[in-house]
Symmetry: C3
Subunit: 447 residues, 3 copies
């Protein structure tokens, strides 16, 4: 079939056999792999009664389920409603935003359970999963939702599924390098989720550059109601971000502290976002694009450091800066990236995830390097950075260096992985729409 690129002519977006085939084949693969590998962790297994005795637990409340399940549900809402609805701002792409996000996330969490399971929960030939695995799978898929934001409206569901398969794989590898090889802390994923996810997505969209995208410019805006739908996404991301950054931290003070730091950072971020949104517009009016996105940058930017002794005022400072950086990015950087670097970033993930993610990595490195036994307490210091076993002698400044290395590794993985996946997605067989049909639900949905 002829596919006249760059001419805006009709392309073959017929999904009837391709999409079902991919979905069914992959789901069968999941079933087989789960059948071979996945079992319940001891805390979710019916042998728990015996396990409790072995672990010397006196009450069912000590089951990790009760420490993490409420946070898990909040994270779950962020992935499916938060990201899904945040992207409904486009006037004619609400079904695609919510629906494709639903599809790729539902597939991605299964593959993430496997990939992350092999790296982190593999015991005697089986992956043993519990509530923490579910959170981590949601986290991993979060990075795909971020990348989706860059290519929103320009790709077919098949492309999204392929991207998900590869990105989840690379996410797990990158996460393994950071957490296990470099022994880096990143509980809220400034590096593993946001930096990696955003630069991955930006690389993909760069490679999929569409020179004639202005043909669908009229559909790339929002309407009044679609902006309100998007605010549902924004608010759920904003409100539950304290759960996101604390969900997999150590029990007790670390979870508690991570939630407080994130709460503070996000509050400050709202004020500087509003300030700069008004300041950078000639008429001084507020722009919903900024309110929907830049207000969240404060959550991204304390992803690494929230569980550390960042302190509430430290969090305010981070949020303060990120609201500015992100809003300025929307006003000046996004148009520049599009016109000069040919990076077409539908949702502006460079401003919401990429830059704040980098800041988050750096803040984490500094906070780690500045840690002292005085601030953390003797036991708290060891516990906070896991300075046990092989890492018993690591000093805070060395830890800070490794944290910084984690940023670099995440960036490299994102660029390399994004280039690879972008090249694959560029193959003219995946059924993406012509430039004039972008940002239009009618292509893939019964409307």
């Amino acid at each position: 079939m002829e596919r006249p690129r760059h001419q805006g002519m009709a392309k073959n977006t017929y999904m009837r056999w391709r999409l079902p085939l991919v979905c069914l084949l992959w789901e069968v693969a999941m079933i087989v792999l789960f059948g071979v590998f996945v079992r319940f962790s001891p805390e979710a297994d019916a042998h728990w009664e015996e396990e409790k005795q072995e672990m010397n637990l006196t009450s069912d409340i000590e089951n990790d389920f009760y420490f993490r399940y409420p946070s898990f549900q909040d994270v779950h809402v962020m992935i499916f409603v938060g990201f899904g609805f945040l992207m409904t701002f486009l006037k004619r792409y609400g079904f695609g935003a919510v629906g494709f996000n639903f599809l790729l996330a539902a597939f991605g969490i299964q593959w993430a359970l496997l990939m992350q399971g092999w790296f982190h929960s593999f015991k005697s030939g089986k992956i043993l999963i519990g509530v923490e695995n579910l959170i981590n799978a949601d986290f991993c898929v979060g990075s795909v939702c971020i990348a989706f934001g860059a290519i929103l409206g320009k790709t077919s569901p098949i492309q999204l599924l392929i991207m998900t398969l590869f990105q989840v794989t690379l996410f797990a590898v990158n996460e393994y390098i950071l957490l296990n090889l470099l022994h880096v802390k990143d509980a809220g994923g400034s590096m593993t989720i946001h930096t990696f996810g955003a630069y991955f997505g930006l690389t993909v969209t760069r490679i999929l550059y569409r020179p004639n995208l202005e043909q669908s410019k009229d559909k790339q805006g929002s309407v009044y109601h679609s902006d309100l739908f998007a605010m549902i996404g924004t608010l759920y991301l904003w409100m539950y971000w304290p759960s996101f950054n604390s969900a997999i931290s150590d029990h007790g003070d670390a979870q508690h502290r991570a939630a407080i730091n994130t709460y503070c950072s996000l509050a400050a971020c709202v004020l500087t976002t509003m300030a700069f949104s008004s300041m950078l517009q000639k008429k001084g009016k507020l722009d919903m694009v900024h309110i929907q996105n830049a207000t969240l940058a404060g959550g991204v930017a304390v992803g690494t450091s929230a569980e550390m002794m960042l302190t509430p005022y430290g969090s305010l400072i981070v949020g303060f800066i990120c609201g500015i950086v992100s809003t300025v990015g929307y006003v000046y950087l996004t148009p520049f990236l599009e016109s000069r670097l040919h990076i077409q970033d539908t949702c502006g993930i460079h401003n919401l995830h990429a830059m704040p993610g980098l800041i988050g990595g750096i803040v984490g490195a500094i906070t780690a390097a500045a840690a002292t036994e005085d601030v953390y307490g003797k036991e708290g210091f060891i516990k906070a950075f896991d300075f046990t076993g092989t890492y018993q002698t690591r000093t805070p400044s060395v830890q800070g260096g490794f944290q910084a290395a984690g940023i670099v590794v995440s960036l490299l993985m994102a660029f390399a992985g994004g280039a690879l996946v972008g090249a694959i997605l560029k193959l003219p067989v995946w059924g993406d729409a012509a430039a004039e049909n972008c940002f239009e639900d009618d292509i893939y949905w019964e409307v």
Copy 2:
């Protein structure tokens, strides 16, 4: 007053005295009955300090509130936002969908606290309620919300309140037969909530058959924004379903396991729903009706077995099958039921709740029958199936048989109860709208 049925002429839908009378009388009855019967359970009573000592608990965290309250809130959201917004897909029935669901659920939970209380929490002449009773009341009302889906847009609020009164009553009886007499496990309610609720509603809508319903066919569709509102309902049901299926399971591993199994089943279900939605449409486009509904079938179908050792891959298989069954049902079975069997099922609850509920009952029976001490551990086996006291000698295969009997009982109760209630609702005094005014908020709401 003349009520010319089958002619589409104006009917008396005037609610001014009838609706207030019913609401006020029933609420007064609730107050009297609560005054006579309902008190706090020991864990919610101010005597708890003494209770704690008697129960040998060392910490307030052992209060059942902390084991179940987060799940309760998730279930609460499912009932009021989940079901309420799922039904807003109709272009002109959003107020009725959300508002009547609100009304019937608010009434139903009160009556359910009483009915279920008499059967399960009755001590020395009083019903003692705690957080588990609130969850069970929400569950019970969930079955009414399901039935509401079949008759959505075609009934008056008074009919809905009457249906709620009867259905809650019958639900409690059926639940008592299953859980207490047959000693059946059904924590997520595949049988008690979904099978019973759906076949009850289908029977009611069959009896209320409207031959001229095509007169309001133009209002029976959705518009772009109403489909997005409905997706709010879908996603909250989907995300919180792990809480639904684990909310009243035993503390510890059972709750933990139920959440994991449900998470897996729902993820698989999304992929097969998407696959078949595209495959069964000539142009290969996705249909929002399927995405809104069939993606949830996987949660229904592990309702009975989620707390058992279904295993993650078992859950994937169940979700895989149910996404297919449910989507195929929407495409082929719903039109058939309407044209041949005169079952007008507005929301397609046959596909989302009835068939998956039956599958859920069967999967539960099989999973129970296949249980072994090896898989569950000696203590875990007894705990999982409550094989104590009278049931000390029950074997897994016998349990499987009783589980199967539970399905049959639920079906019979649904058909008999639905026929009775349908006949009552058919009386020409409840103020339902004429055929050409169905699916129209203007009848009962100031618009």
Copy 3:
């Protein structure tokens, strides 16, 4: 610049320098004050390991985080999505409703952490914050969201920020008088949040009276979709109110009981709201304004007493009454207040918060006065009312008297504070819109 009041001519609503200046200055002030004063509470500090030993805790689950974090998140949703979306009912003020609520709440929680911290969490020169402080900050800001409801659509964002600064300050003072000086119980804030917040807002809107407001009458209504958006707010407030009223109650039975009482009160309230909504309308149709608001009055009215032994049927009675009072208020009182007393109450907070708040204070006083050792148990009685130390000899009837005094103090603070703030906001420098531009997003937002 000329500002011709009362003539409907264009006013200077240009925000470009004023709004950014206020936001940035205040956020810088927050950072400085947080830097000087705010640190982590022992349960969120990395020294927790040592703290645990001192507090004799054997498990991380004893950290207050696990007792309160799920409730905190529910309250957080109520403040940002609940109040935010409840106010989107206006056809052209959705951005302002959600966006300004977001802005003032994000600022307010920071200032509340400081103000409430100085009064309640100040130790050796530092404010030590934990999850309970976050909840209290959200509560405090809730009272500002309530007041916002009265002036919705008629004020500039700068006015809202100024009001927030003052109202949070006065809230903290009033709360200190009630809780510490009068030793009053008010866990769900019937007095401190609702009575104070509502009468404060009503006083402000009285002083800001706009005689020509009928010029924007066409924009003061709702459209179909905006009413559905508002229902999102309503339902989240309704569903999570049990968390609101139980969030800061004592661990154990008090939290448990508060949730149950609130659940019951709200359920009853829905039925009487529906009854009176239909009854008071000539055609007997239901009015979305009532459903969106009056259904919530039952939550407000058990705010003080929910953690006491109000009993489920007592809660039903309170909900029953408040649904009626609130609905009747919308039909008869709001027009009267506007025409006769010149109180322009956009959202009708007099019906949703003011009257139910007063009822809540009174119900709390009665419930406290009626307390007996028999009903609460010896230890429970002391624990429920904190009858220790200085208050060891206080009797229930004396407590009832102090509770009643709390209502009066809250009212006086609200009137005096509202008058002061209203006078400040009346200064012609804050950039509010002309009468004919009220209820219109276009003034402050890029639309």
